[in-house]
Symmetry: C3
């Protein structure tokens, strides 16, 4: 049985939806000896999130950012948590909507992603630092 | 220890929210020998999603489809990813909102679902083909 | 290898977003001997949900409740599932948006939560009873 865990330090990014598949694979646990397994990615933050979506056209990522800003706008009269800036409370709401973790199957030493699937960091703050992800691998040889 | 993995080919469905519990159980790994475990279901697509909700009144599934179309309408001026049709970008956004995977506990050889819980394929495209799910079972005898 | 499972009976709460980290830790499986692992929490209900977000300022939880009510209002003309009260269909939609389960890494006998992360029960009904969570622990000594 394989159990492995690594901390991935994602570099700081601008607000928006970003492809991080390569960064996760290069810093995460070695998958190559895992025949069948699961990789759990857990973001240790409350104003960003992890998702899986289209890895090709960057317009998809731009449209996601624009549409999430429509669904969760800044400066709403019902927001009371406002001391950390107008982008802060919307960031918490987006984080709850999208979620802080992913669990991805592994087959024959690789993530079993679909052809068009990539891993996203959804950065909901205007000026965030780097983000930390705990990557936990389990499976069998 | 049990590790098993199977590919589930869901038949093509119309746009909307659909119960797939039976289809998952009939094509997925055999759960009957698993005393304690987890079943992970991972959809290899970016314009559909997996969810868990009410397995009885079909009006719930109709209302979900109608309300997601209010939250994520077609033909918005901020959409730039429009070449694949007006249903495509909303499908990506809905997929990020709902998510591509589920992890369900297993107790005494069965999914430990609540009385009213069923598994949903949320099909966000107007004319999609079949959808592929990787089902990964782990647990102990 | 560790496999353990426990049923957590969350006490009844008012509609809103509630911190349940302590209740989960006190009723869930013993984590102290698990060096590397994962804890899966699965809510057996379709009108509440589980999330992770800020554990400090209670205004965040109030703002979440208020904003989810804006995104998923009661009494919409497109709702057909209305027999169980005006809060019922919105509760199902919120449950699909937020999700019924969480998977959290364990490191050295503890949940590897970020500094500001707490576990939430998101109670979407006006008058719900207690809620049941299946907690499944797996890992290595």
């Amino acid at each position: 049985m394989i159990w492995d865990q690594a901390t991935i330090e994602l570099r700081a990014r601008n607000r928006g939806f970003h492809l991080i598949t390569d960064e996760v694979l290069s810093q995460g646990p070695d998958l190559s000896n895992c025949q069948v397994g699961l990789l759990n990615l857990f973001l240790q933050h409350t104003s960003a999130s992890l998702a899986i979506n289209e890895n090709a056209d960057p317009d998809v990522r731009g449209d996601l950012e624009r549409h999430f800003n429509v669904m969760v706008p800044e400066d709403q009269p019902h927001y009371e948590h406002v001391l950390e800036g107008p982008d802060d409370m919307p960031a918490h709401i987006k984080s709850v909507l999208v979620g802080a973790s992913l669990t991805i199957p592994i087959t024959a030493g690789r993530l079993a992603l679909g052809t068009w699937q990539g891993l996203y960091l959804c950065e909901h703050r205007d000026r965030a630092g780097g983000r930390r992800v705990i990557a936990t691998l389990q499976g069998r040889w």
